[in-house]
Every structure is written in C-alpha cells, then in structure tokens.
Amino acid sequence: MVKGTKVTVNVKTGQRIEEEVDITPMPMEPEAPKVDIKDLVKLVAYAKAQGWI
C-alpha cells in the first residue's frame, strides 16, 4: 500500500473532499503491439507478385 490523494465530488450535494488514502498499486499495462500499414501494403504487393494471393 502507498499513500495517495483521493478527491471525491458528490454531485448531489456539491461537497468536495480531498483526503489521503491507502492506494493499492495498479498494473501498468503494456502499450499495444503495432503494425505499420505501409509495411502491410508492401507485404501484400509482394505476396501478389509471387502469386501467393
């Protein structure tokens, strides 16, 4: 657990509370695997030239 600030806004009453709370560390998700469309276009052109598709 680490300490962190939590801001709570009650939309009914307008009350705003800022407090120090225990924070459970959360996962840092990886960025997405990526592909360059330009490479895909070249790959498709090559595959067509080879008669594969």
């Binding site: 680490v2 300490k3 962190g4 600030t5 939590k6 801001v7 709570t8 806004v9 009650n10 939309v11 009914k12 009453t13 705003r16 800022e18 709370v21 924070i23 459970t24 560390p25 959360m26 996962p27 840092m28 998700e29 990886p30 960025e31 997405a32 695997p33 990526k34 592909v35 360059d36 469309i37 330009k38």
Partner: protein, 182 residues
C-alpha cells in the same frame, strides 16, 4: 433562433420544464485538480435516473507515465473489468485487450484530452467507450478504449478515475461530468 429537440421544436427560444422533459444534458461536476491526486471520484450518481454520463477530461501527468482506469460503484478490482484498445499513430496501428478498465494511457509529463461515454446497458452491464487525443503537433495520435465489467450492476452510483500509481494526475487536470437525461 429555435432549438431542435426530438419530436419538438422550441421556436420561441423559451425553455420550459415541459420542453426539457424531452431530454437534457447537464453538467453535474467540474473538477480541476489543484494538487496531485491518484483518484477523482464522483458520487451521488444514478444512471438509472440520468440514463447516460459523459465525462470530458484533460489529463496531465507528472514525471512518470500512467494508465488511467475507470471504476464504478467503488469496485476497484481491476480484474473485474476488461478493455479493448485501438491505437493509431500515423500509419502505425495497434490494438490490445486488457484485463483492467483502461480509459487512457498518458506518458511522462503528458497531456491528453478525451471523453468517455458511460452507459449501463439494457443487460445491466457497465460499458464505457473513451476516445482520446494523445500528443500534439506532428505527433498527434488517437486512442480509443471500450471498457466493460465482467458482471452485471443494478445502477451506477459512483464513477472513479484512477491513475495506475499514486498521485500521477497532477494539478491542472480537469474532469467535467455531464448527465444525459431523456
């Protein structure tokens, strides 16, 4: 100048409760952080009453990047949610699915603007679709996250936006919540 509403015109520009009964969008909270925070929590909600929420945000992070998560009804167990990412950076496309409720990913000292539509589906599943603009100028990039919960929910009474590490949302970050009633 009149105002068009579904099935009704307000040609006289006079807005009355009866005319508003056709549907309204109303700002219910506008939080601008004055210091670093981990979580911004909106309570006192009822999506059964309001039907739909729209959260508009401008995110600023500190010295480290952070995932930004959305939780509902104080259920902060990340594995109770899934999210799907589409990421477009020039001609480079990416995608991923996470066992967590992502709405954004902000890099170190990052700035990111976006909005999230928050629903409770007719099947009582929490759903959220968030679209973000990351970076500016020649680096401009778009990300979109679809998020849902693994179980059903009777109502949505609380929405929390939380960074993946303590106090990674810094002063100046803005969160504006609208309720859409119809």
């Amino acid at each position: 100048m009149g105002m068009a509403m579904p099935g009704t015109w307000i040609p006289d520009g006079s807005v009355t409760p009866a005319k508003l009964a056709e549907g309204t969008m109303r700002m219910v909270a506008n939080e601008v952080l004055t210091g670093a925070a981990t979580t911004v929590s909106f309570t006192g909600l009822s999506i059964d009453t309001s039907k739909h929420y729209i959260l508009v945000y401008d995110l600023k992070t500190g010295a480290a990047g952070a995932n930004i998560f959305i939780f509902v009804n104080a259920d902060t167990t990340v594995t109770n949610y899934y999210s799907q990412l589409i990421d477009c950076d020039a001609a480079v496309l990416g995608g991923n699915r996470y066992n967590s409720p992502m709405v954004a990913w902000v890099n170190a000292n990052g700035r990111e603007s976006g909005f999230a539509h928050i629903f409770l589906g007719v099947d009582d599943y929490f759903r959220c679709i968030a679209q973000n603009q990351r970076y500016t100028g020649a680096s401009v990039r778009v990300t979109q996250y679809a998020t849902c919960k693994t179980g059903t929910t009777a109502d949505i009474t609380q929405i929390d936006i939380t960074s993946s590490a303590a106090n990674h949302l810094v002063a100046g970050s803005r969160f504006t919540l609208y309720e859409v009633d119809y």
